[in-house]
């Protein structure tokens, strides 16, 4: 099991009367750098879309079948695994019931079953997830992970049905989502990935799918500790304004709070390998007198009820403006990163709705923030959507020759952040 350490970055000095305390807490699992193969029990399900559209062109389904084979090949021996084919219903194609342990024979049988797949039918993502959920039920002790690939909109169920299924799956397994082509909705997959603590991305070209599946399996296999929760104690009379994962991607955890005691709540963070994540936490506290110091929050990591690693978020009220007016570098950086994600999403939304003025304003702001924050990858994606006249002032012009795949890539990757430069390698 991983060892966790937590470290707080904040300016604890508040001006007279101030009531909001902001801090970035970096949580690190183990001190060892680089990915390693995990040792804990793991369960893996690959869910591939076999709806009719996957056959148009046929290269999509062929790429999905090949990528699934690559994923299976990269499973650690002994990992319980299975493959689900999804249409307007869900079908376990290997094995037909439950999961099997990965071995040379089971891998070969699984790939043989996958090679038989034919396109046909609709799309009901919730049904696929429900089958994965019931299959994982026999593997509660394992770190359960799924890969979900689709190419189309979730047409054959209502949004409410999907939401209900997601509610049932939350905390049971994690799911990374991929959209192939450009006919799927970023919002659909973001909803799934967000609820199931996974990632979302676009694979515009079928050729790139196999490499991406391998990377996802490697990441899943490197997880050593499942069901880790971030625990936050706050003083009586305080209110949590937000708890937001800000690195490696932005994910608002505020609504996921599960109260464990008065003044204490847990926020699920899923499985961890040897990695570091940053959280931006904002707490409203009753203002106190000059010179008073308060513990505004105590952050710890909880695994199976055991607390591991903790850090303090403090508040000290002062009338010394040299102290209180400084904004902590990490807090400022991630405030900008969150605004960047929001500006991109709102800008693209406005662009789709035909509101050119708002789109220009928001995407211009995004360019400015990306340039300022050192988000070079995001800046490159932004340049596919706007012509940049001046990144410092955020002066941009909307492009008219925008490639749909590039726009979707910008949307899905808008929440990907970079860390403060110079702080860590």
């Amino acid at each position: 099991m991983s060892r966790f350490t937590a470290e707080t970055y904040q300016n604890e000095f508040l001006p007279v009367g101030a009531e909001e305390v902001n801090a970035v807490v970096t949580v690190t699992a183990d001190g060892v750098a680089g990915p390693v193969r995990g040792t804990g029990a793991a369960a893996e399900i690959v869910i591939i879309d076999t709806s009719g559209s996957m056959g148009m062109p046929g290269a999509k389904l062929r790429a999905a079948m090949h990528a699934t084979g690559v994923a299976i090949d990269n499973l650690r021996d002994g990992v319980a695994f299975g493959v689900i084919a999804g249409t307007h219903r869900a079908r376990a194609i290997y094995p037909h019931r439950g999961l099997v342990a990965a071995s040379a024979e089971t891998r070969a049988s699984a790939k043989a079953a996958v090679s038989e797949l034919k396109p046909g039918g609709g799309t009901a993502i919730g049904k696929w997830l429900a089958l994965a959920n019931s299959t994982f039920a026999a593997h509660e002790e394992a770190i359960c992970h799924a890969i979900l690939l689709t190419d189309g909109e979730d047409r054959d169920e209502t949004p409410r049905e999907l939401a209900r299924t997601l509610e049932a799956c939350k905390g049971r397994f994690q799911c990374d989502c991929r959209g192939i082509g450009t006919d799927w909705l970023v919002a659909d997959l973001r909803e799934v990935a967000s609820a199931l603590l996974g990632t979302v991305d676009i694979i515009p070209e079928p050729d790139a799918l196999a490499a991406d599946f391998r990377a996802m399996i490697e990441a899943a296999m490197s997880k050593e500790t499942g069901n880790v929760a971030l625990r936050l104690w706050t003083p009586q009379g305080a209110a949590v304004a937000f708890v937001r994962q800000v690195s490696p991607v932005i994910e608002d955890l505020t609504a996921r709070a599960a109260d464990v005691a008065a003044q204490t709540a847990d926020y699920p963070t899923g499985a961890w390998g040897r990695e570091a994540r940053d959280y931006h936490i904002a707490i409203r506290v009753p203002a106190r007198a000059i010179g008073d110091e308060m513990l505004a929050g105590r952050v710890s990591l909880v695994v199976d009820g055991q607390v591991s690693g903790q850090s303090l978020i403090r508040a000290i009220w002062t009338d010394d403006e040299r102290l209180s007016t400084q904004i902590n570098r990490e807090v400022a950086h991630y405030t900008g990163q969150a605004e960047l994600a929001e500006a991109i999403q709102e800008g693209l939304e406005a662009r789709k709705a035909g509101d050119g003025d708002t789109a220009t304003l928001k995407l211009g702001r995004a360019v400015q923030l990306a340039a300022d924050g050192g988000n070079e990858a995001t800046l490159r994606l932004l340049r596919n959507v706007v012509d940049v006249d001046d990144p410092v002032t955020g002066t941009v012009r909307l492009r008219h020759d925008v490639d749909v795949a590039e726009e979707m890539a910008l949307d899905t990757r808008s929440t990907k952040t970079v860390r403060v430069s110079g702080r860590r390698p």
Binding site: P235, Q236, E293, L295
Partner: protein, 284 residues
Amino acid sequence: MTATAFVCSRCGAATARGDHFCEQCGGRLAREACRACGAGVDEDGFCVRCGVRARAPGARLEFDVDGAAAVSDRGRVRPHNEDALYLDAGGPGVAAVVCDGISASTNAADAATRAAAAAGSVLSDAVRGDAELRDAMATAMRVAQAAVAQLAVDTPMDPPACTVVAAVWRADELIVGWAGDSRAYLDSQQLTTDDAEAHAVTRWLGADAPEVPPHIVATAAADGRLVLCTDGLWNYPSAMAELRASGPPPVVAGALVQRALDAGGSDNITVIVVELPLAGRAAA
């Protein structure tokens, strides 16, 4: 002053400040309780309920024994607490010392700590033995002066310095010695005279101290409330108004310091409160 209650960390029952055991479950009570809400204090020094800092390393020292209590608080402005104290009320009498490190000197906190410990241990031995208290006080002052002067070896150009006020009591004899502007009171009567002119002390302990013998006065005192304090307390008249407040020593000491903090707490604040005669060890 608002009655601040300790809360028993075992059963949560409210208890009066100064109680040593919980009346409900009999558990030993933590000495510390949050000054803002009365709840317990965690290992980092924060209140477990309202989060307010109850203790910073070196920022506040608080203890009490039967019939006596001491509080030393950093105050609201100074970055460090350079006051020090010594209190022994566990024997047949009382040995108490309060020192105030002079901030203009280097190592002021060390000076105060050394002086209080040196003088205190001499007075403690005297109370527990049969030495003449007046002689013991003279020795205590000499030993304290030597201890602080010795610190100057490292910084001869800027020798560490502190004030001292010490009291030793046994039966009905009370001896007070001092150098500087830290004070002793019996009830509301000031026993000391300040060695100070225009806010600067004229006597102190340290390598560069003027070569004059320390003040030593004797008082016949079978009972009364003995208070030793630094100028961080007596500079606030509103705090000194609490000198005659009713209540056991921990309550009075807490109230005195709280008043000084409320009034601004511009300096370190240290106070020792002893109720004479000591409970259960009444003088003949």
